[in-house]
């Protein structure tokens, strides 16, 4: 994922898609599953998500795929292959850690681990609850003052 984030010229992706797919909410599968399930090979899935009903039908033709989409995927995969090809795999430590990722305007990717994501979410969530609680307290005081004044 980090290699994709570094190399892809037109990054487009989000962990939402991965999460939905892995939870089986999309009634579909990937041709990559045989490598994943039996050889435990890590990989990246690239998919076109629009106009999906022609998929695996006789209408699944090159004309139905926008040329820009093909170009984007091709450019990204070429850059990714070049990056991966120059990596020293003996120095890479594989882990099962899930990542949280999203692209920003299609210009770059934000990637962090699930653990970091939990920390960020807790920080924002608890800070928000505290601030709103504080606001409730203040506004109640204001209400009291207002009622006393009136």
């Amino acid at each position: 994922m980090e290699a994709y984030a570094k190399s892809a010229k037109y990054p487009y992706g989000t962990s939402i898609g991965e999460e939905i797919f892995q939870r089986g909410l999309i009634p579909s599968d990937t041709d990559f599953r045989i490598f994943r399930d039996f050889l435990n090979v890590p990989g990246l899935d690239f998919a076109f998500v629009k106009n999906g009903w022609v998929y695996h039908t006789k209408y699944d033709s090159i004309e139905n795929i926008p040329q820009g989409s093909l170009q984007n995927v091709g450019t990204n995969i070429l850059a990714l292959t070049q990056t991966l090809g120059n990596l020293d795999f003996s120095e890479i430590q594989f882990s099962d850690a899930k990542m949280v990722f999203t692209d920003v305007f299609g210009y770059f990717m934000v990637v962090y681990t699930e653990r970091t994501g939990i920390l960020i979410n807790l920080l924002i969530g608890l800070a928000t609850i505290y601030l709103i609680w504080k606001d409730c307290k203040l506004s109640r005081c204001c209400c009291c003052l207002y009622h006393n004044h009136s």
């Binding site: 999460e19 899930k98 924002i124 609850i129």
Partner: protein, 265 residues
Amino acid sequence: MDWVRMLKNVGITILAWVSGFVATIAVAVLLNLFKYPMPFFSTPNLVYLLYGVPIVVCQVVVYTYFLKGIEDQTWMAAKTTLAIMMVLLTFFTRLAFVLSVNVGFGVLGWIVARRAFKGEDIYEHYHYWRVFHLIDSLIASFHRLFIRFSASVVSLSSDWRTRPPFDVILLLLCLCRSIYTDHGTLRDKHYAQPDYRNLHCLYTLNPRIIRDCPNLHLFQEELLPNVDRHLRRRHCLCGGWSRSNSVHGQDTNATLYCGKCCRII
């Protein structure tokens, strides 16, 4: 007492979401009742109009009823609920990061407004701090994918040809749409009048719905009847679904057999 007020707001928000959820189920049932489950085939984004409008209407009605006279609290109530939901969900799913962007930027704008308009009613300056929500929307490129996914999922559920009143995916989608509605887009007081005879929300809709409307586009219309034919599915007595022996749907007259018991249907 402050906690009670906060929890009350959370309860109202959940009720508003449930009302949106019920509204979307009702729409789904009606569409199927009128044999109209296919608009998403040719116009996937129509889902935002057909489901989005009833969601917003129902939510506004609920908020208006329960927060009568203090409609400005709608925004705060929704943000509180989202924050609590995020704290709870983050341990179970990575999807919670969607909420962190929404809540984070929303509250950031609110804090800045509180500082900038100290001593004043910041809700009078609502439009200024709503800018932060635009940042949230813009940064949320995942939202684009959410749109695509929503459309794809609805299309897929149509592909199954089960034509049930609704299915699990559709239910989940309804739930997502209901929760994902952006509250307090305009100052709620402006469109949620205490007596909801003046429901202006139809004109001042959620921007996430408005923004999606121009995206309505027609494509593949002429292919649909053929796609319909060879993607047809039947339900077997054993509980399984039919599969076609046609390779990649090339043969529209291919025999259908049950994917579970292999019986020809």
